[in-house]
Amino acid sequence: MNEKKGIIFTGIIVGAIAVLLVKLGNPGNMGFCIACFLRDVAGALGLHSAGVVQYVRPEIIGLVIGAFLMSVVGKEFSVRGGSAPFTRFVLGFTVMIGALMFLGCPLRMILRIAGGDLNAIIGLVGFTAGIYIGIIFLNKGFSLKRTYSLPKFEGYLFPGVIFALFIIFLAVPSLLKFSQEGPGAAHAPVIVSLAAGLIVGALAQKTRLCTVGGIRDLILFRDWHLISGFIAILATALIGNVVLGQFKLGFAGQPIAHTDGLWNFLGMALAGFGSVLLGGCPLRQLILASEGNTDSVITVLGLISGAAFAHNFKLASSANGPTPGGQIAVIIGFIVMLAIAYFNTEKSTEIKMKEDVEIEA
């Protein structure tokens, strides 16, 4: 299978599985949502106490293990890190604040559009605007500097921890918290969610599927490669939702969504901006974390912490709309992100190119 077919195939599978997961019990337009699922995991671990969003989403476990196994089989498991780890933690944290303002990661944004949720179109406009701001800094020379090779064991730890969480989930669930009502209580059967995660994790690892990368590469390089995966998810989920009667067009009364356009726009703009600075959307960070990139592990920890803080301090939106705290947090988020972008942009934008350099072959 060539690259192009691979990414489109992956998009189709992700879209189809997402629709099926909703049919089998996941919350509306939430077949996959990396932000929401990490938030649910944070809740299950008691890192926040919002009773309606606590569940160990087996999709997350599947994504990690699937990507890990695929990277090992494909000899792509490579342990590296050291590229501004705490900056990445803060970016992950802030991306989560934006995502929970909007109520979904970029992947769920696509799935919301595919379900007829017009608020998510405003989210997409904001997301694109955020990516655009990020690209301005990329073009000016923004960089979090290089990564370095690290001991192999460092890379096994994250998949190992996630696997341990899965064992606890199966063997001693009493240690964890589970929602009795609300989105956290809505889920497909464990085995289905796990299988869904495994398949998508493996495919996403192989094809580098990334929601932010799609729009970024299109603007930056006029490269349609990654966005073809994005479009395939949207098209497949749209058709699937119509066929299964899950499609409902409109702004009001959409599942786990609010209708405040300005804050939907700003929330996704923040998520898009941060994801460009990080080099990938939350899904991509989770996949990279599973194939040995410990900078992405730190980013995922930032996302989880952001989710915990968002619920502990009432920053996350609900169906009733954004909270005042959430609005302040998003604005602070922009300031923090602009500072990170500005102070990591090299002032000299000249091409770093050396003449007559011999490469040892």
Partner: protein
């Protein structure tokens, strides 16, 4: 042979592609790009091909040397 070269090892995408893009703005006949991961290898290769260059890949340990030629 005089060769322009870029060391993009350790850089995560899209940086290697951006570095390549900037280097190709001068329209050189040839360029060598050094990367150390599959994603960068694929992305730089795709970008170079879209820009009208042929790409030859040589593996050197964990690194890939991409030779771009018109």
């Amino acid at each position: 042979m005089k060769l322009n070269s870029i060391d993009a090892r350790g850089r995560s995408c899209p940086e290697p592609v951006l570095m390549t893009k900037k280097a190709l703005q001068n329209n050189p006949e040839a360029l060598e790009v050094l990367v150390d991961n599959m994603t960068a290898k694929e992305n730089v290769t795709r970008f170079a091909k879209n820009s009208g260059y042929n790409v030859e890949v040589t593996q050197n340990g964990n690194d890939y040397i991409l030779s771009l030629k018109k």
